[in-house]
Symmetry: D3
Subunit: 263 residues, 6 copies
Amino acid sequence: MTRILWINPMGTAEFDEPISRELRSESAAFIDVASFERGPKHLDYNAFEMLVAPTLLSTIRWAEQEGYDAAVVGCFYDPALRAAREIVDDLVITAPAEASLHLAATLGEKISILVGTEKNIPEMHENVVKYGFLNRLASFRPVGIAVNDYQRDPSYTEGRLMEEAQRAIEEDGADVIVLGCTAQFGFYRRAQERLGIPVIDSAVAALLYAEYLTSLRNGQGWRTTKRVGYKGPDLSEMNATIPVTAPVVLLDPRKNAKTNACS
Amino acid sequence: MTRILWINPMGTAEFDEPISRELRSESAAFIDVASFERGPKHLDYNAFEMLVAPTLLSTIRWAEQEGYDAAVVGCFYDPALRAAREIVDDLVITAPAEASLHLAATLGEKISILVGTEKNIPEMHENVVKYGFLNRLASFRPVGIAVNDYQRDPSYTEGRLMEEAQRAIEEDGADVIVLGCTAQFGFYRRAQERLGIPVIDSAVAALLYAEYLTSLRNGQGWRTTKRVGYKGPDLSEMNATIPVTAPVVLLDPRKNAKTNACS
Amino acid sequence: MTRILWINPMGTAEFDEPISRELRSESAAFIDVASFERGPKHLDYNAFEMLVAPTLLSTIRWAEQEGYDAAVVGCFYDPALRAAREIVDDLVITAPAEASLHLAATLGEKISILVGTEKNIPEMHENVVKYGFLNRLASFRPVGIAVNDYQRDPSYTEGRLMEEAQRAIEEDGADVIVLGCTAQFGFYRRAQERLGIPVIDSAVAALLYAEYLTSLRNGQGWRTTKRVGYKGPDLSEMNATIPVTAPVVLLDPRKNAKTNACS
Amino acid sequence: MTRILWINPMGTAEFDEPISRELRSESAAFIDVASFERGPKHLDYNAFEMLVAPTLLSTIRWAEQEGYDAAVVGCFYDPALRAAREIVDDLVITAPAEASLHLAATLGEKISILVGTEKNIPEMHENVVKYGFLNRLASFRPVGIAVNDYQRDPSYTEGRLMEEAQRAIEEDGADVIVLGCTAQFGFYRRAQERLGIPVIDSAVAALLYAEYLTSLRNGQGWRTTKRVGYKGPDLSEMNATIPVTAPVVLLDPRKNAKTNACS
Amino acid sequence: MTRILWINPMGTAEFDEPISRELRSESAAFIDVASFERGPKHLDYNAFEMLVAPTLLSTIRWAEQEGYDAAVVGCFYDPALRAAREIVDDLVITAPAEASLHLAATLGEKISILVGTEKNIPEMHENVVKYGFLNRLASFRPVGIAVNDYQRDPSYTEGRLMEEAQRAIEEDGADVIVLGCTAQFGFYRRAQERLGIPVIDSAVAALLYAEYLTSLRNGQGWRTTKRVGYKGPDLSEMNATIPVTAPVVLLDPRKNAKTNACS
Amino acid sequence: MTRILWINPMGTAEFDEPISRELRSESAAFIDVASFERGPKHLDYNAFEMLVAPTLLSTIRWAEQEGYDAAVVGCFYDPALRAAREIVDDLVITAPAEASLHLAATLGEKISILVGTEKNIPEMHENVVKYGFLNRLASFRPVGIAVNDYQRDPSYTEGRLMEEAQRAIEEDGADVIVLGCTAQFGFYRRAQERLGIPVIDSAVAALLYAEYLTSLRNGQGWRTTKRVGYKGPDLSEMNATIPVTAPVVLLDPRKNAKTNACS
């Protein structure tokens, strides 16, 4: 059974439990959820991505040592994705924007991304360009909700997401919606049912892309290349600079139960 | 258990048995392999893609009626991919270039695609641009082997693939190789072991992408959007124009065996 | 005198007579109009382009054997353009989007394309990118008329075309309009007179581009290259796969009259 | 009969006679050839394009007053093309790079442009980008011949053109060649016969594109838009700034002969 | 002390005095302001850029002979920039669009350019693409004021600039504003104070970029390359074609005063 | 007098003294050089950029509190540039790739970047795309020297830089060279003298761009926008997450001497 470490790359465990419930309801893999003891409570700023990066890398190394199959960096900015790939040997790494944009470009033609605020757009736009999907981008649409407030008043959040998704369809010609923040969890099923087009929860997409990449690694030997851009430091240099440290972890309670099952 | 119809979109069953062995060795899904009674024996020309298109669409409709989860259009030109998505309701559709390029762009930075001859490049280049991966393209490299000759002298084929892959790494800076013809099957494992970077067999990649998309459809309801570009004809118009016809099919012998297993 | 075969690539002769009148009023060439005995009545779906493709190719071969100078594939999606060029030796081939976009980019700076519905946009957008005119695209604007309804109520059609063209000028900065469906014939002259900017009927543009390319072929020997992307099957392979079959043809009555004239 | 003014935009009449012979051998139109009394003897530098621009514009205005149908700015940099279009009312204007690149992109997939020296490339590359054909560009290849030396030793010139064209085909994958200097006249027919792919003489292409655009203007009313980018000064402002002045003109001797003919 | 020649490339000295005051209030360099005795009074048309080009080049050569450090071509179309760089040996050359766009792309993420009328956009858009900043462009916004009217009613001009800048921020997501006409001088300080984001006066930006480039030339030897695209004619060819002629010049009165100072 | 903090973003002071000498020889500004007490000794890996990011941000905040005018992040990957801009109020921030590419695109047409190894290219290529200069890129050329070895054997380093620069000019058409690693200091003057084209030392370019941006901030109020992408956390959030901490600093000895001078 695939073992995945979902990393909430923030100095708060507040979202670990709700997102673990959400993710485990979407997958049969063992999903442990990690967060950090210290650091910012959200990553709305690129500066905060930078602050958590060392802890994130230490967690990545820990995950590889612990024998996880994959680790997901749980933020739609895809923080430190290149760095994470440099320092692993065999661990699968992915992140929400990468996973959901590749998927959206397969399912539809014109992608609209719902984001928190206008502030989020330039860095995400850079990522859309970097991943190659600029010609598929219908629009970014801010919903005007701060990252830590999505779950405060779910019905308000749902209303705003629906409003902007509708506008994306009618005004921007979107035929697939991406929820451009991992904190927008819990909304996609009802939204897609009502809108009649795919609504991609980027957290769920990243989890399932990690499982897919894991199965390709195990079955076909297709893993992150270790040449050129993803070439990383050798072990001694890595040990000298990136300590292996355990994050706060919420273990998947299903693990014992499952291991007896036929699989 | 996922049921996939692999379509060799050609008027020959010659490759059905070897590719079925290859594919079934890579996946536990039930994989039936279809080909057509009539039509060209290869798709090296865009004209031949056009010739097989109606039969291909009839096969796609048949696959959906038969209850397959997914159908793969087995040619690296990804023939009739948009058309196929228009006419299905729920069937997953994918194809080798789409599947392997999305994967290659996740695993590496610079992709080199090994093709048969220079003739193949312009249409494939158009697809690379269309899918968004131009900035990731290191090179196309022709191996100078006709599509139906790859399996004639496997050791010659392997030699040529290795030669061009080596050049792609050294001269073009490639860190991931894509085998840009589904007839280049049976070579990727040894090649990637010797080269030390991922070598993506585009047929295998398409099969496994189909399984992945199927699991997302079943689990998350993420399916091809039916709006905008993939909006298709209504049922009566479809029935009037696209007959549902069975192709030549090579059934997966594992099916009965498996259905008794715990799954 | 140049002999052109205009192909309405559909299983209906309904438009042959009106479009033949329209086209012959625009050109002194001999213009025969072909359609197919069977097949969909319109090509609004990419799937329908695929359905007619084999008949289209057989018609192309027939046209070359009959000694036509050029054949025009009469649909703004430019269906099977690459395939058609592969299978001819000397016959000139063109299509409406190619012809009208090259022209529009010469006459103006910002092109707005009036299309039937939102459904048409993604495939046409792909073509705009493929032909190289993305930086010249001001907008696509759907008029909300189905392809077979343009000629039902011409004054309504004209009203809608004028409305969207006006918006394209005022809101999108367009300085040249392309009628992005060959069924929008009969409107361009009045529209351009009233709007004061070029309004390109894409059917007429394709016809005249075919004549131009023919004159270059005859005079300068400039013809479709037969290398690389347009390299096609050899004759025996072609004969084995693409029968030469006559379409339904509406002959140009001017032919006999003209042949006696001084030319 | 169409009347075209070919403008050698240089202060020398040295090339008027040879190019007039070349052009008249390619077209039945009346072709007068103009050059300037003063100014640089070639336009290898952008500075020299700027120097001749006022005289060029005065010549354009003169051409319109004299009733020419079209004027061609005879240099592959396409100097002052936007300016020329601003100041005319009805006169067709085109230039070699525009004309030959649109044509090359229709006839082939990958264009190689043979230029004089490396110096020419950046400005021409800008034009390739501006016209939209970057994805079609196989290569620029300098032949190492100064612009005024192409006709000195024709067999040497022919040798160099053939050499670089061969390399473009073999090393760059080109399937269409553009002669990227109007002074490379007289070579294209033999070159294309020997190479087996289209070799576009950009001077001839511009002449014939001018005839084509003229016929569209006369027949369909499709002319340079006078809005947005091509909007020009009003007549009084134009008269105050751009004198109408006759260039040195070499008249087409065929004019009288032809006017009696049946046409 | 750096000596800069600001060139108002027009046949009027009307703006020399006001712009000299404006520029001198922004810089301690010696700034002489030149204009031409003849020629159009504004450069709203590309044709007018062409008309002034020879005089501009003669002025550039004069500036180099007079020992200026830098010359600025004072129009947001950046007329004749490549030509000017070809003909100088050591003189620094820059222009408003180049200078302000490089700066804007450093200070912000999304640039909105306020222009006079819709007419200005296509040529400026070409320049944005040429300079590489298309992905940073939020919008062009015309204020509807003719180039020679900006200073007529400054409070009206200011109102219009503020209106469109506000819309650029709110509707287009701009976070930096560029005043896309050198005649929009005198407004940027109040505008940026009120808007709270950088408002770049493109004339001032060009002046200061010229000083910066001069200091790099003097200190580091970094000067315009004289190879490839900026390679120019040799001296004898230049003397034969581009006379060195003095423009109308408004000298900087600060020069004598300053030369006694400690610097 | 401008006060600049040059940050060697690494856990070694080894390069502080040599680079301070180099930088101070290029500028009259006060230049203090900082490095970190801990952390990797080079930033060849993206992972190492991430490791130093928090210390870098703390240093940036310290620099603003200490009253520096500008801080330069001294690595050609431009690490944490967006983050640094988010957290400052008024401090100017720049970095070598940004500074040298903007400059190179002004001085020349085709830029070749000399890098250490092939490993460096993908991330730097992403930056070239992000900054907008892809169309200006002639090539990346690795010299095969590890980042900490450039100063070990300067004559070998110089030899390799010259070799690859020569190839860039002859084979890639480069007309300006960028030294794509700040550790390649001390070589540019001799190289550019011998090559005859600009050779931009990216460290020096960043220093001088910082001075230029400072003078614009002071004189014109043009500073990093604090809206949209560069909007940062408020002060209390910043204080809670990013401690203000002093780096290791090598002070500029010229400071006392200079302050008595006339300036």
